[in-house]
């Protein structure tokens, strides 16, 4: 009797904890793509993403290859032209988008689950994914648009700073280049290069499929299988080169006729599998990752009114993603603001957080955990990350524990070992003080 009651309690606890994080179903398609599915029956809709390890980190010599390859897929497929493809989706209210960053290249669709919408939308998605035509007229148009995009960057101090930041942070590593490429590389792109890129990287073994929505497991399995059926198995992309640490500080100033100076500062940070992930994440949350209550915001904005936005964040990636600090302030204050950021960082590395700051950070992160998973689109975002970076399926279930386990000493130790305030890339883009 006692035992039975005990097991009943256990069952209740398990049910509760399963509710706290979405249940992820995971399998592989017959040609090798990894699939991740979360049933969300409440709304009659579904989000589907197919993600390839085919971001700009795979560009090789011609940066912009990955982005333009990805953009070309919906320009013509299985004999359908761009107008027809977009109409096939939009006529049934489906939303299709493609995008490509450094690590990931994505194709995403949101559709109603009613058959009148989902069936034709899936068919078009499948065409785009597996039978792209790479029409020459579209290639020329998109190439021109990329060049216009590069021109637009030149009138944005933030974009100029970002390009210089990555370039100086990563040197010879593929992360140094911008996904949008540069004028020379974009002009040098051709259809043959894009097709070769597609054939190498848009393959099942290099893909994950994410489904979140009002489907049952059987439906999800059938959809994933059909969607990728015509993709060759192919090979997983090779391991990315290691990021080499910065050996010295680099300070770069770029003139721009803006009233503010945009400051970016940082160094290579952490990967998605980093053993220091939680210590550095919690530490940075206190330092500059918690918006208006962070130490940086307090020093730069609250106390001194120097900037509207000031932040620091780790962007964990396949290889070491950047640890980045940033703000914008009127030109005359740029050096003052930079000093405040540096002093705040130095103090934090020296002293670590206070006990009260750590408690507040943990309360913020764990007390708002449910907010991270309160919509299908957020759940899809998390399982994309879990799937793409091969994180454990119980990542979300253990997230709070991992946060709560972090101590002041761990943060101090991780910061002193990993973050070197004397070896930062610092970019200042702006004009003369008025």
């Amino acid at each position: 009797m006692v035992a039975r009651i005990f097991s009943l309690i256990i069952t209740l606890l398990i049910t509760v904890s399963v509710h706290a994080s979405p249940k992820i179903e995971h399998w592989q398609t017959s040609n090798g793509a990894r699939v991740y599915f979360v049933a969300a029956p409440e709304l009659a809709m579904v989000d589907i993403k197919v993600v390839f390890d085919a971001g700009s980190a795979r560009d090789g010599d011609l940066s912009g290859t990955a982005l333009l390859t990805n953009a070309m897929l919906s320009e013509g497929a299985a004999g359908l032209n761009t107008n027809q493809i977009s109409a096939e989706f939009e006529n049934v209210g489906a939303q299709f988008s493609n995008s490509s960053e450094r690590d990931m290249a994505l194709l995403s669709m949101r559709s109603l689950t009613a058959a009148f919408a989902l069936k034709p939308a899936l068919k078009t998605f499948q065409h785009v994914l597996t039978q792209p035509d790479f029409p020459p007229a579209s290639f020329e148009r998109l190439q021109k648009q990329m060049l216009i995009g590069l021109q637009a960057e030149k009138q944005s101090p933030g974009a100029i700073a970002s390009r210089a930041f990555y370039n100086n942070l990563y040197g010879d590593h593929p992360y140094a280049a911008m996904p949008a490429g540069n004028e020379n590389s974009v002009n040098a792109l051709d259809i043959a290069t894009l097709k070769a890129f597609y054939q190498q990287y848009y393959v099942a073994n290099n893909a994950i499929v994410i489904l979140v929505g009002a489907l049952n497991l059987q439906q999800a399995k059938a959809i994933a299988e059909d969607l990728l059926a015509d993709l060759p198995a192919g090979k997983t992309a090779t391991t990315l080169a290691k990021v080499t640490p910065l050996l010295t500080a680099k300070n770069i100033t770029i003139d721009h006729p803006s009233s503010q100076t945009h400051l970016m500062m940082g160094q290579p940070g952490i990967s998605r599998h980093d053993p220091d992930y939680f210590a550095l994440y919690v530490g940075n949350h206190i330092l500059g990752g918690s918006g208006l209550v962070s130490l940086l915001s307090n020093e730069v904005r609250e106390k001194r009114g120097l900037s509207y936005s000031v932040y620091s964040y780790f962007r964990p990636m396949r290889a070491l993603g950047p640890y980045q600090f940033g703000l914008q302030t009127k030109n005359a204050q740029a050096n003052q603001a930079l000093d405040v950021v540096r002093n705040t960082l130095n103090t934090f590395i020296d002293q670590g957080p206070s006990a009260a700051e750590l408690v507040a950070a943990k309360q913020n992160i764990t007390g708002g955990f449910a907010l991270r998973l309160d919509s299908n689109s957020k759940i899809a975002g998390y399982i994309t990350m879990i799937g793409f970076y091969n994180l454990p399926l119980d990542y979300l279930n253990t997230f709070k524990e991992s946060i709560n386990a972090i101590s002041i000493e761990q943060i101090k130790e991780a910061y002193s070992r990993r973050i070197d305030a004397n070896k930062m890339v610092t970019i200042l883009v702006g004009g003369q003080a008025e």
Partner: protein, 458 residues
């Protein structure tokens, strides 16, 4: 007016029972006039709490433009019982996300929390609804923060400078003339008393709507709202002057020279909105909305199909219409020509697209596409509690009924091809048109990139 207020107040005493409870929405009004709208959404154990005030940049006067936005910033800087930034610290320690936003027609504050923390939001929002303290030193610092915000958003963005110039040309006496963030000279000269008076004038329960969406029980939320907001005293809020925009008597053009690489232009035609339309023509805003969808409702819409592809004149082009503005507004088209084409080429192509809407009925397939999109979007929008609360709060605050967001699909479905043609002919006329152009100046400050109107595409 004083009399009318009193009568209203006595009416409020009667109505803490639900005024309405259709679908999963409950609506209440507290004795002090605070409106409370609760929408249940039990998909996740979270709740969003938003307080919407009927005040924004369209309530402001020359000399203190942007003061609603500055006041929004000051709402985080301390009250009788909270120190500067303490509000944010308490929300953060409770796992919450919070911020605020100011528009032309509203100022809104929000927290998203796990559902059992809603009380935190109510306690803090009730405190700052009536007990704000504007400290002069805090204001001086925060004025600088807002000035930096303006530099970032506007001064250093050539397209934002064009938008400002456009609005100030299109609207003469309508308060939509000035930017939400305010002119720099106004920002630099706010005084503590300006802020105190603005706060006194507009921040009161009878000028606010509290919108709650999430995993909550309406009765419990009502009880909590009564506990924290119930004791607050109502205010005799100011009466807004109508400020009806004067009749436009000819096309207006404005040029903006700024350091830039790419040309950019805006065209805007004066149009009515739901809040201002004569009831006999209540379909017109929806026909304009449909028209916006025909031009720019996706990649298969006419602008993408004909101007980005097709003729390949536009690098980018878009159409926009806010049918739920408080005051009469403009239907806007913005764009950048491709290399080798000029702003004039792009404008000509846009005008040709508009002319086509005047002379030819849009086809059934296009209407069906927009209808399918609005039906689907009505489902997609329910994926976020925040957006659902936004819709309710925004409609209530501009003086419309939140149920309009439910009726929206129906209204769009009812629009006919003839109605689209009718609004195209009625409103897309030169007497209602304002055009603003960016003339790119060299980024290195040395020589002009191009001369005006001659060689925009390079």
């Amino acid at each position: 007016m004083q009399m009318l207020k009193k009568i209203k107040l006595s009416c409020w005493l009667l109505v803490t029972i639900p005024v309405i409870a259709i679908a999963n929405v409950s609506e209440y009004q507290l004795d002090n006039g605070l409106k409370l709208i609760i929408k249940e959404d039990h998909r996740a154990p979270v709740v969003v709490s938003q307080v919407w005030y009927k005040v924004g940049s369209s309530y402001e006067h020359n000399g203190t433009t942007g003061i609603s936005h500055q006041l929004e910033h000051m709402m985080f800087k301390g009250t009788e019982n909270l120190g500067p930034n303490e509000f944010s610290q308490i929300v953060a320690a409770n796992g919450g996300r919070e911020n605020a936003f100011t528009g032309r027609d509203y100022t809104a504050y929000f927290q998203t929390l796990e559902k059992d923390r809603l009380e935190v939001s109510f306690r803090l929002e009730a405190e700052r609804m009536r007990k704000l303290v504007i400290d002069n030193d805090e204001l001086l610092k925060e004025r600088e923060v807002v000035a930096e915000e303006r530099r970032m958003r506007t001064e250093d963005s050539p397209q934002a400078l064009v938008r400002e110039a456009f609005n100030s040309a299109a609207f003469v006496n309508s308060p939509y003339h000035h930017p939400v963030i305010g002119w720099m000279s106004d920002i630099n000269n706010y005084e503590a008393d300006d802020l105190r008076q603005w706060y006194q004038k507009w921040y009161a329960p009878n000028n606010a709507t509290l919108v709650i969406v999430g995993d909550v029980e309406p009765e419990a939320v009502l009880a909590l709202a009564k506990k924290y907001f119930g004791p607050l005293k109502p205010e005799v809020t100011a009466i807004l002057k109508p400020q009806i925009e004067i009749e436009q008597r000819g096309k207006r053009t404005v040029e903006v020279k700024a350091p830039a690489e790419l040309p950019y232009m805006m065209m805007g035609w004066k149009v009515p909105v739901v809040a201002t339309i004569d009831p006999k023509s209540s379909w017109e805003p929806y026909a304009l909305e449909m028209l916006a969808g025909i031009l720019d409702g996706g990649d298969s819409a006419r602008f993408s199909r004909n101007l980005v592809r097709g003729e390949e004149i536009a690098a980018s082009v878009g159409a926009g219409y806010s049918l739920f503005s408080r005051l009469a507004d403009v239907f806007i088209v913005v764009g950048t020509p491709v290399k080798g084409k000029s702003i004039a080429d792009l404008q000509k192509a846009i005008v040709t697209q508009i002319s086509q809407l005047k002379t030819e009925l849009v086809n059934q397939q296009e209407l069906d596409r927009i209808r399918a999109q609005v039906v689907a979007n009505a489902v997609y929008e329910r994926d976020t509690v925040f957006y659902q609360a936004m819709q309710i709060g925004m409609l209530e605050t501009v003086g419309l009924d939140w149920r309009l967001s439910d009726d929206y699909v129906e209204h769009i479905q009812a629009v006919t091809a003839e109605q689209v043609q009718a609004v195209a002919n009625k409103y897309f006329i030169d007497q209602g048109l304002t055009v603003a152009e960016l003339i790119p100046m060299p980024l290195d400050g040395k020589k002009p990139v191009m001369s005006a109107g001659v060689n925009h595409g390079r």
